[in-house]
Symmetry: C2
Subunit: 314 residues, 2 copies
Amino acid sequence: MTEKEWITYLKKHLFEKPPVFKTYNEDCTVIQKEEQEFLLITTDALVETIHFKLDYYSFFDLGVKLANSNLSDIAACGGEPEWALLTLGSPIPVDVNWAEPFLQGLNQSLNKFGAHLVGGDTVKSPFFFFNLTLFGKTNFPILRKGAKEGDLIFVSRPLGGSSAFLRMVKTSPLKEIPENLKKAHLYPEPEIILGKELSSKNLATSAIDISDGLLLDLWRICEENSVGAELLQEAIPIEPGATLEDALSGGEDYALLFTVSPSNLHQIGEIETKLKRKFFCIGKILPEKDLYLVSEKKERLKLKPKGFDHFNFK
Amino acid sequence: MTEKEWITYLKKHLFEKPPVFKTYNEDCTVIQKEEQEFLLITTDALVETIHFKLDYYSFFDLGVKLANSNLSDIAACGGEPEWALLTLGSPIPVDVNWAEPFLQGLNQSLNKFGAHLVGGDTVKSPFFFFNLTLFGKTNFPILRKGAKEGDLIFVSRPLGGSSAFLRMVKTSPLKEIPENLKKAHLYPEPEIILGKELSSKNLATSAIDISDGLLLDLWRICEENSVGAELLQEAIPIEPGATLEDALSGGEDYALLFTVSPSNLHQIGEIETKLKRKFFCIGKILPEKDLYLVSEKKERLKLKPKGFDHFNFK
C-alpha cells in the first residue's frame, strides 16, 4: 500500500464520531471537550537508520528533534502543547552518558513552549527508537479542511534547508556543512507561536506543517478540499545553500503552510508586526484539482506532488 | 543502570506539580482535571524479538496483546479507557494481509472496554514495533501509594500461566501447549471492570497490574509505602500447568494485585457476588520492609523480589 492508500484504509478502523472531531488526514487527532475547547493529540517516532544516524545526530539533537516534530503537529492545529509521554527503545544499557543529553534536549524544546514530560515507557529494542505522544489544547483548531478558491498560500519561513543538509551530509564532513543548514535539519523550530496567533484570530482557512515537502503537504491540503494550487516560483523562499528542488520536495522543514482569505490579508501584516517576522505568500488556491508552478519566465508548469515517502520500502 | 535506578533518575526530568498528580512509579500518569476528575495516560510498546516472535504470535494476537497490556495499566488505576493512539513501525510494506488482523485484534480489545483508536503514526523500521498510548479517566484514581500495615493482599486470578507458556514454547510446538496457558500469554484479560468497581467504592488502598511478576510488582507496592509483605504459599492461585516459580516471578500475567483494609473485607464479597468471580487473598502487608513466603509447612522464608527485568541487556 502507498501511504495514501493506507490512510484511506485506516479510516474504517478509526473512531470518528462526537466527541472525536477529526482523526485521519490531520496533523493531530482533535477531540471536542466543550463547545470551544478541543484536545489535540499527536504521536511521532524517530527510528535509528530510518530517521536518523548516530554519526551526525547527538543524543541531545535527537531529543530536540523528537520534541520539535511533535510540537510542529500541535502548531499546525493552532494548539498550545501541554503534556508528553516518551517511549524509549534502546539496544544498549540505559546510561546517563546518553540518556541525560537526550532528556535535556527533549525537555528544553518541550519547556520552551510550555509543555512537559510526564511519563512513558522504556524498553529493550534491537535498534534505538523514540516515540513521543504529545497533548495540547486549543479553542479554535485549525484543520486541513477549509481552504477555498482564491485563498492565498503562505509559508512561514524559507524552505529546503533540511533537505540540503541531508544531501550534503552524505558526502561532506559535518563541520563543512553551513550552520544554517545544520540548524534547519537538527533544530527546526516548531511554529507554536504563529499557530496560536492564527488560531486565536481564526485567520487561517487551513494549515499543515511541512514535514514531507512543500508540494506533497500542499497537495494534502488540496485533496482535503477538492481544490488545486498555483505557486509562483519567484515567491518561494529558499534557505541559502538549498535548491528549488529541496524547497519543493525536501522533507522535514517543519515550516507552517497556511491559507488565508484575501479579505483578511491585512491581519497577516498585524501578526508580522507583532511577532517581528515576515511570512511568505507563495501562491493561491485554484478551483481545479491541479498543482502548477509559474516559473520566473511566467511559464506555467503542471507539477506532480512529490516529497518524502514514508512508505518507500525499497 | 537498573530499571529502578533509571526511574529514580528520571524523576528529575519528569514534571510532577499540579495539575500533574503522579508520573513515575505508577501504572499511569495521573493528571487532575477537576476536583474529582482525573485523566489517566499510559504508553506501552511491543518490540519484535524482545517482546514477541512472529512464529508464535499472529498479527491478530499482537493487536490484542498491545491493547490489553495498555488497558491493564488503566485498570490498575481504576480507570475507564477512552482513546488510543498507535505508532506502527514496520520493516515490510504495509499490507492488508497483516495490518487488517492486527487492527482487528487491537480494536476488538479496545472496543470491548469502551475505548477507541483515534489516530497514530506509521513509520518504516528495521523491525516491527507497536506502541500504543491510551487515555482514560476516573473519579478516584487507585495509586500504588496507600497500602498500610495489616492490609490484605489480593490477586484477581490464577498466576503463572503466561510464564509457563513462554517456557513451553521454547521446546514444544504451539499446538501441544495447553489452551489455558496459550490464553494466559496471548489474551490476558485486562481487569478494567474490577478496577472500576474498586475505584467507585474507594476500596483498594493500593493496586498494580502484575506485568513483571507477583514478587516484583508486590515489592513495588511495598517500596512505595515503606512496608513489607507476607504471602501464604497455599493461598497463591496457580494457573493449572504453571509452577509456583511461574506464579511468583513470571511476567505478563496482567492480573490485578490490590490491597484492602481488613475492615472492608465484606465489600470484596459484594464485588465477587456482583461480578460472579472469586478473588484470592494471598497475604498481608507487614510494617517491616521485607518480603516473606510462608510455606505449606508453615516455614517462613525471606524472599528476594525477582521478576521480569526490562533492563537485562545481556
